[in-house]
């Protein structure tokens, strides 16, 4: 009795023997028939344990179904791999229903693996659904973005420009990319930006990029004004953003600037403390710094500041005074590069601000273009009244752009378009016999090392500390000398 109820509770679905047990569930059963069935059930359980499937079912089916066709048997034995549903001997439904209760085969198609054409179609559906989601819940009526990037040919140009390019390629809005090149448009830059597939405008600007950072900042501002002049002449419509080629922009930046009305400002993270901050820190501990230096206010961010009622009240800039002595003066110096008080990168303008008369209703606080000359330190010079700036990114709380200046020395060389044209000179011969004992030559700061620096692109350039013994007589194991090639 207890066993029967235990059986009921363990496995919900029936066992063939439960047909009998249910009807007598309540009565006390001690008849020999029941004991016989119990023993038989126990025996079948043991056999099932050994065989791995429910043997008792099989026996029951074979006993009860008189006209057992081979198909039924094969269905029971190989139910995992059949291609057609089997007929079940327990069919008790009305003939009107096409659906039969009972055991069916598991249908598996001949090649149960993904079909690449189907995968492509599915991805297209996913893309379209996401587009629809963006249009429903994202920005309505997105405006064209006009990105202004000043650049010039130098070692780090490829690295920086590829970064900006890839960011722009991921922007889901219409885009015009104005690349202003110092010294006139070159094929180097043109070949780089051609790979983007974006709508680009490549213009040149007279003059070569200065070597000192001070002069360079000013030169870049003039390049940007030159681009704005082009926006004005061509009456390009949209939102102008200033993407310096070494900066990093998050994709939320491009979504956020869509909310600009006339002139908006985002918070810019200043990554100026590259490699020099620890020096300043240690000097602070020694108490060298002036009293004004307060570590708490050194949040490396430039951007709009709001009061508690989310109104724009002023600017937050980085106090760079403690760092001025240690800052880099020339491009490629060690030490960090300091930004100016407010960088162009944090501003977004409605292009109509620079349009000539006859454009859309320009607000009264917008100055006319003509009186500038080329000296515009920030876009704020376009305004008579700087309080109309719209703070973006939760009122400046979200940093969406990072300002960074990383450059090699002004005279550093690199293979044009990073394609190695002429065959390289051999510095280390590839032979099976042990490598020569002498370590690779240190790259010296003179330009004669340029060929070795380009050929060293084949093997990794390792900075060997000064105290390494360069005595060629010292034997080196094969493994350690090969480690420089890894």
């Amino acid at each position: 009795m207890k066993q029967l109820t235990a059986l009921q509770q363990q496995g919900r679905r029936s066992n063939s023997f439960r047909n009998l047990s249910e009807s007598s569930a309540d009565a006390v059963i001690k008849s020999p028939a029941t004991i016989f069935w119990l023993l038989l059930h126990g025996l079948c359980c043991l056999i099932s344990l050994v065989l791995g499937f429910r043997f008792s079912r099989l026996v029951f089916f074979l006993l009860v179904s008189g006209a057992s066709t081979p198909s039924t048997n094969t269905a029971l034995y190989s139910s995992i791999r059949t291609k057609s549903p089997s007929s079940s001997p327990e069919r008790n439904v009305s003939s009107a229903s096409r659906v039969m209760a009972g055991r069916h085969g598991i249908l598996i198609r001949p090649w149960p693996h993904p079909d690449p054409a189907e995968v492509m179609k599915a991805h297209r559906i996913i893309n379209r659904v996401q587009m629809e989601q963006r249009s429903q819940f994202g920005i309505k009526n997105p405006k064209t973005l006009i990105a202004v990037t000043p650049t010039y040919v130098r070692t780090f140009q490829t690295l920086h420009l590829i970064g900006v390019m890839h960011s722009l390629m991921n922007v889901p809005y219409d885009l015009v990319w104005i690349v202003v090149e110092a010294g006139g448009p070159t094929n180097e830059t043109a070949s780089l930006i051609a790979k983007s597939g974006l709508k680009t405008v490549h213009i040149g600007f007279e003059g070569s990029m200065p070597v000192s950072w001070e002069d360079r900042h000013r030169f870049e501002s003039r390049m940007r004004v030159h681009a704005l002049r082009m926006v004005r002449e061509k009456r390009l419509d949209g939102i102008v953003v200033f993407l310096d080629d070494s900066n990093m922009h998050s994709l939320e930046f491009f979504d956020e600037v869509q909310n600009t009305n006339w002139i908006g400002a985002v918070s810019v993270g200043i990554l100026a403390h590259s490699g020099g901050f620890e020096e300043v820190e240690s000097s602070k501990i020694h108490g060298e710094d002036n009293a004004k230096y307060d570590k708490r206010s050194q949040v490396p961010v430039q951007g709009p500041a709001c009061n508690s009622s989310s109104h724009f009240v002023g600017w937050h800039t980085l106090n760079s005074e403690p760092f001025v002595e240690r800052s880099a003066k020339y491009v490629g110096d060690r030490g960090f590069v300091l930004p100016r008080k407010l960088e162009w990168a944090g501003f977004a303008l409605n292009s109509r601000l620079v349009w000539a008369e006859g454009g859309a209703d320009k607000p009264s606080w917008a100055k006319e273009w003509d009186g500038f000359g080329d000296d515009m330190e920030t876009p704020l010079s376009l305004l008579k009244d700087t309080t109309v700036v719209e703070p973006l990114g939760s009122c400046g709380q979200r940093v969406l752009v990072w300002w960074l200046r990383v450059e090699a020395r002004a005279d550093s060389k690199f293979p044009p378009r990073w394609i190695i044209e002429s065959p390289l000179s051999i510095t280390v011969a590839a032979k099976r016999t042990p490598w020569p004992d002498s370590p690779p030559e240190l790259p010296s700061s003179s330009s004669s090392s340029s060929s070795s620096s380009s050929s060293s692109s084949v093997k990794k350039e390792s900075v060997v500390p000064d105290n390494v013994d360069k005595n060629p007589t010292k034997t080196r194991r094969k493994r350690s000398s090969r480690s420089s090639r890894r």
Partner: protein, 417 residues
């Protein structure tokens, strides 16, 4: 002159009514859609004033005492029987005067006898139901008037009033003979099946609304999963060889698509189950031991297009909701080609289905919220009952007429409860 004016007024009125009731798809806002016309508008009908329901006062051993024994009855997928009772007790459609009632409700919780693992045991349910009916037939005259023709019962178990979890057994038993004339409100629905009477109302299984609503994610989260499913493919305990459970359909899904990156299917249920459904485009709703499952409710609430794999299934409120336009139906024999079927759905159709699912009245109609909200499943049940009015005069029997056989059914059912 008077006649002329009358004609003008009549014509204007006719045009107005014509526009009101014309078929067509109306777009409320850009991103939800209603199916207007005979099917869609019905979801927003208000049943108050259209029917009157009398609730029998049964001794608490039929309802409250059972609930007290096991509180899990309020959270499992059969909880609709309990919540419907609570809703009716305080609803404006309730009447305390049985003479004016159109429908009679008997609150008996037949699906609340739970095993230790939480699944309801149906073995005592027939006797319980019989006992309840005996009680109402002796204490009140209204049962004998129609032999249950104007009574309705909630039987949300696997196979409804067949009172068994196993399909063959349920078919053998058939619907409880005493309930043959009553209206059954049940979750089970399959065409040409013994356990679905003509005139039954199919309802969705209970899914906890607060729990689902607490897991909503922002609607601009991109839907990046193509097909999603979490659940068993093989029922190891009861059908280890496979082929019996889900008529082999779930096992077929696993064997064909376990290697397919478009199909995010697995047996383990993560804590982000609801969030994942909101990031999916299609959600599979295959049959299990019974054709229906709470996955359909979850898919509708989370805006994921339900892919219904259950032959001949009758979906909830099928006369009010046009499921063909909302979900995708796949025959069980076509499961091996599910990926081809789903990728061949045109993109505009996918977008349209998503818009229909985004309709809030669609989501409300699948839920049993506490307290009740307009347009929810309780109201849809009442709407369904109201649509069956007025009663066919033939259900009213003369004094000497007896149609039901009180001794029909297995002998174990006849024992008192």
């Amino acid at each position: 002159n008077m006649g002329g004016e009358m004609w003008v007024v009549l014509i204007i009125a006719a045009l107005f009514l014509n526009c009101r009731f014309s078929d067509g798809i109306s777009r409320n806002s850009a991103w939800t859609e209603r199916i207007s016309g005979s099917a869609g508008d019905v979801l927003e009908d208000n049943p108050v004033g259209k029917l009157r329901v009398y609730v029998y006062e049964l001794p608490s051993k039929y309802n409250k005492k059972i609930l007290q024994k096991d509180g899990r009855c309020l959270t499992h997928m059969f909880a609709s029987e309990i919540f419907m009772h609570q809703f009716l007790l305080s609803s404006p459609v309730r009447t305390l005067n049985p003479e004016e009632a159109d429908w009679f409700y008997t609150p008996v919780y037949t699906t609340c006898d739970l095993a230790p693992n939480g699944l309801p045991l149906p073995f005592k349910s027939p006797r319980m139901m019989r006992s309840a009916i005996q009680l109402i037939s002796t204490r009140w005259p209204y049962w004998n008037r129609t032999e249950g023709g104007d009574h309705f019962f909630l039987v949300p178990h696997d196979f409804g009033a067949c009172f068994h979890y196993q399909e063959e057994k349920a078919i053998q038993r058939g619907i409880l003979p005493l309930l043959q004339r009553a209206t059954l409100v049940q979750t089970f629905g399959q065409r040409n099946h013994v356990c679905l009477n003509q005139g039954s109302i199919t309802i969705p299984p209970y899914a906890p609304p607060e729990k689902m609503e607490s897991h909503l994610i922002p609607p601009d989260t991109p839907r990046s999963i193509f097909v999603y499913f979490r659940g068993l493919f093989y029922d190891e305990n009861n059908d280890p060889e496979g082929g019996y459970y889900a008529r082999g359909a779930r096992a077929s899904i696993w064997e064909n698509f376990k290697n397919n990156p478009l199909f995010d299917i697995s047996t383990d249920r993560p804590s982000t189950y609801y969030e994942d459904m909101q990031r999916s485009i299609f959600c599979l709703c295959p049959l299990g031991w019974a054709p229906w499952s709470p996955r359909l409710v979850e898919a509708v609430v989370f805006g994921c297009i339900p892919v219904i794999i259950a032959d001949e299934i009758v979906l909830p409120f099928a006369d009010a909701i046009s499921w063909e336009q909302i979900g995708v139906f796949v025959a069980e024999k076509d499961v091996p080609y599910l990926d081809a079927i789903l990728t061949s759905v045109p993109v505009e159709v996918v977008l349209r289905k998503q818009r229909l699912l985004a309709n809030p009245s669609m989501k409300q109609s699948m839920l049993f919220p506490q307290p009740a909200r307009p347009g929810d499943a309780f109201h849809q049940i009442l709407n369904g009952l109201a649509r069956k009015l007025p009663h066919d005069p033939k259900i009213f029997l003369r004094n000497d007429e007896h149609v039901l056989n009180w001794t029909a059914g297995p002998t174990s059912d006849l024992k008192p409860w």
